[in-house]
Symmetry: C2
């Protein structure tokens, strides 16, 4: 795999050259009908790479190659594919093919796939699956979106406390293949989780030790209904490779494995970024190119429309002060700066809040702590920005303008003072809104940048024109 | 752990109630000098929870409690603590205490800690460490920041291909305690990585099988100098729990484990969000409250200053068109909307690019694909926004204004047309700049929101005033 390393240096995630070679090779073998060699190559490869190659093929070739893969390779590669390509593939499948792929997939991946398919198809598929698979899938499909239940798998390693480690190993050798992970064993008595034991403990202790002697009975678990992001963060916090999930009665119903938790964290970060940028996240697993132009437009237009219409309000404020800037047209020149800079300030604070809330570093109980902290930061930031801008105006419009402009010192004062006040407003709004949203059970990310910009814009302009009226009042008279 | 589950429902990451109880209990025990019971409680707890309690204590109590912990519990908890609290603690330590904690920590955690300490202290500590620890740490401390080398650990499970599984188990029982993970064994011959074997394969195959028969010789590895984010994304892609790291000569030098990869992904997302919000990320592991007011100000002021001064440029454009808005003061009312909306549009595209690049879904080679896609999206978005706004102006200033305003249709035309053009400009700039930054080896996130807003603002205003001059040219005459 030398090529892969070369590629990585260039900051590319996918080992493209390597794949292109393998892809061309596969296509050649397919055309020459050398199916046996094709199966051998793909069996050697990592299923994620097979999935990547399948994704790059066009629909017809994809179906042909997929059918030629060894059954288990096909099922594994299928689990690594994107939702879009999976759906394309499924459309070409016969029901028996879907069922056989499904039965070979791990249950959480299978449930994940079924979630995106039409209800009628799901019904048909489930009817043809084995009773055990059907029952497990039905249960998984029932958990609410974004809950621990929706990402867990019921295929965990179940041990008993009175077994010896030797007995545990024997059990694993017979049943381990079915478990999603064999690296944590769950000790269950009467469906209750009484302890966990890592494969490391099994391997490091002597074979005649009883499980209950070495298991950890201080079990950390989550509820099926817990939010998937919290579960993932908790796994990160404890550096867990798997987290047991219990139901309302404390019965162990499944586990969440680290690979799914990592995907959840990535998706949640993507969603937060999209929301902060006024995009409505539809499917956080969809890629940029995997989303059509119309879907992109649909995700972007609603917030833009709302924000555009609220900017009308800012426009009305401006109209209200028409006489002010008619008398002092230079005021208009500073409007862009007086809208952008406080906007950016609010943006900074809001981003820190949204991220802090997501990581659990900030909670909605910290409201006053945040307000006090941001107030102090805003005083420093506002003073410096105000001073620099005052100086800039003095230099540009007085020193280097050769007396072309009047009242330059007053303009400088107006801009500096209103900038200082607007920065404080922006930092407070940027800090408070996400926390209020969280408190109300709304998503703090929605409160973000564009929304805060609109509010801060309006506030900044009112401050600006009022300060101008007051300071110019004695000079010009309003 | 019933309390933990209760807490999670409330969307809190930390099991605060539970911790508060334990914390109070610990303090009571400490005051009563019941040290033995204290040690027992903390030994039962998860080290991440012990770390949390230590963090919540004030500096003096923290040092006292830390010294009373069992040595291995102390070292483990230490690894889970934040950089700030660790530094506080280290300041109270004697050199021997630091060395003894260090020797008990895993090497990657120890290196991570030393990286943040003054060079003189590091030298003193290393001098007192065992030769083996010193050599390993020295090597780890040499790798560049954000490289695979900087997050890897040299403590991996090393196996030989001619061993049987029984021999491997015997080796693990003797040496497994030192390895960072025993769940992937690395088969090394003459320092070269020739295969990997999972603990699952060890457990599922019969004991007399030779390792070379069951190991996977199609090894996926990364280079020490590879970027840590790419390594973490690759581990996510393959659903790996550990990734082997090789040096320039292909020698295996260490492994990156999934817990460190998860932390890297979280930190990189946080950094991207901060950069996009015009914040200079200093230490992505520092929390919001763990950063002082002055540090916050220092991280926020530089970009604000740069952006504020570039908004001067936008102001100059406005001044240039002074005669235009002096004749048509209503034009000023639409300025806020004509700056905000295209700014938001650029923001959306830019965010999708930065995230797409980070996830490897978009590469800098996709430049023209992105331009064409954004152009089509912008046409749809621009038409709809332009039309809605035209209608709004017609309704507000004509139908419901009772003939108070003149030339309303022309105003509506000017705003709609310039909005349409500005949206196209914004989406193209928002799509192109991050890709150009990436191509030039710069960080795409820096190009983000505030920077693009400033450019788009200037462009939008030029478009706006030019369109106004042209359309009003025949009516008013400029």
């Amino acid at each position: 795999m030398e090529l892969r390393n070369e590629e990585l240096k260039e900051n590319d995630l996918e080992p493209r050259e390597d794949e292109k070679l393998t892809k061309n090779r596969l296509l050649q073998l397919m055309m020459k009908k050398q199916y046996r060699e094709m199966r051998e190559i793909t069996t050697e490869m990592h299923p994620a790479d097979v999935a990547q190659i399948l994704e790059d093929l066009d629909e017809n070739n994809r179906l042909v190659v997929f059918r030629l893969l060894r059954k288990d390779v096909a099922a594994e590669a299928f689990a690594y594919m994107s939702d879009e390509s999976r759906n394309d593939l499924v459309e070409g499948f016969s029901d028996t093919e879907i069922v056989s792929t499904l039965e070979k997939m791990s249950l959480d991946d299978a449930a994940d796939m079924l979630e995106d398919m039409p209800a009628s198809v799901v019904k048909r598929i489930l009817a043809k699956s084995s009773r055990q698979t059907r029952e497990s899938l039905n249960r998984l499909l029932h958990y609410p979106d974004s809950s621990a239940g929706s990402i867990m798998t019921p295929e965990y390693l179940r041990l008993r406390e009175d077994w010896t480690i030797q007995e545990a190993f024997d059990w694993i050798r017979q049943h381990g293949e079915e478990a999603e992970t064999v690296y944590t064993g769950y000790v269950v008595e009467q469906n209750r989780l009484v302890g966990v034991i890592s494969a490391k403990d099994l391997m490091l202790n002597s074979l005649d030790t009883q499980i209950k002697e070495v298991m950890d009975d201080n079990v950390i678990s989550v509820q099926v209904t817990d939010d998937q992001e919290n579960v993932a963060r908790l796994m990160q916090h404890y550096a867990f490779n798997a987290m047991p999930v219990v139901d309302g009665e404390g019965m162990l119903v499944g586990i969440v494995t680290i690979d799914d938790a990592v995907d959840v964290l990535t998706e949640e970060s993507t969603e937060d970024m999209q929301k902060m940028a006024a995009i409505i996240p539809e499917d956080s697993t969809a890629t940029y190119f995997g989303t059509t132009v119309w879907q992109h437009a649909k995700q972007r237009i609603p917030w833009l429309l709302i924000l555009m219409l609220s900017a009308t309000f800012t426009g009305m404020i401006t109209t209200h002060y028409e006489t002010t800037f008619a008398a002092l047209p230079l005021l208009v020149s500073f409007m862009p700066m007086l809208m952008d800079t406080p906007g950016n300030c609010g943006n900074q604070t809001c981003t820190l809040m949204v991220r802090g809330l997501a990581l659990g570093e900030v909670t909605d109980k910290d409201f006053f702590k945040v307000v006090m902290k941001e107030l102090r930061i805003a005083m420093i930031v506002g003073s410096i920005l105000g001073a620099v801008n005052g100086l800039r105006i003095y230099l540009m419009y007085d020193v280097f303008a050769g007396g072309h402009y009047e009242h330059v010192m007053t303009y400088a004062m107006v801009v500096s003072i209103s900038l200082f006040m607007a920065v404080i407003l922006a930092k407070l709004v940027g800090g408070m809104l996400p926390l209020i949203a969280k408190k109300c059970g709304a998503d703090p990310a929605i409160m973000a940048t564009p929304f805060i910009t609109t509010i801060v814009d309006a506030g900044s302009l009112v401050i600006y024109f009022r300060v101008a009226q007051i300071l110019f009042g004695s000079t010009i008279g309003f």
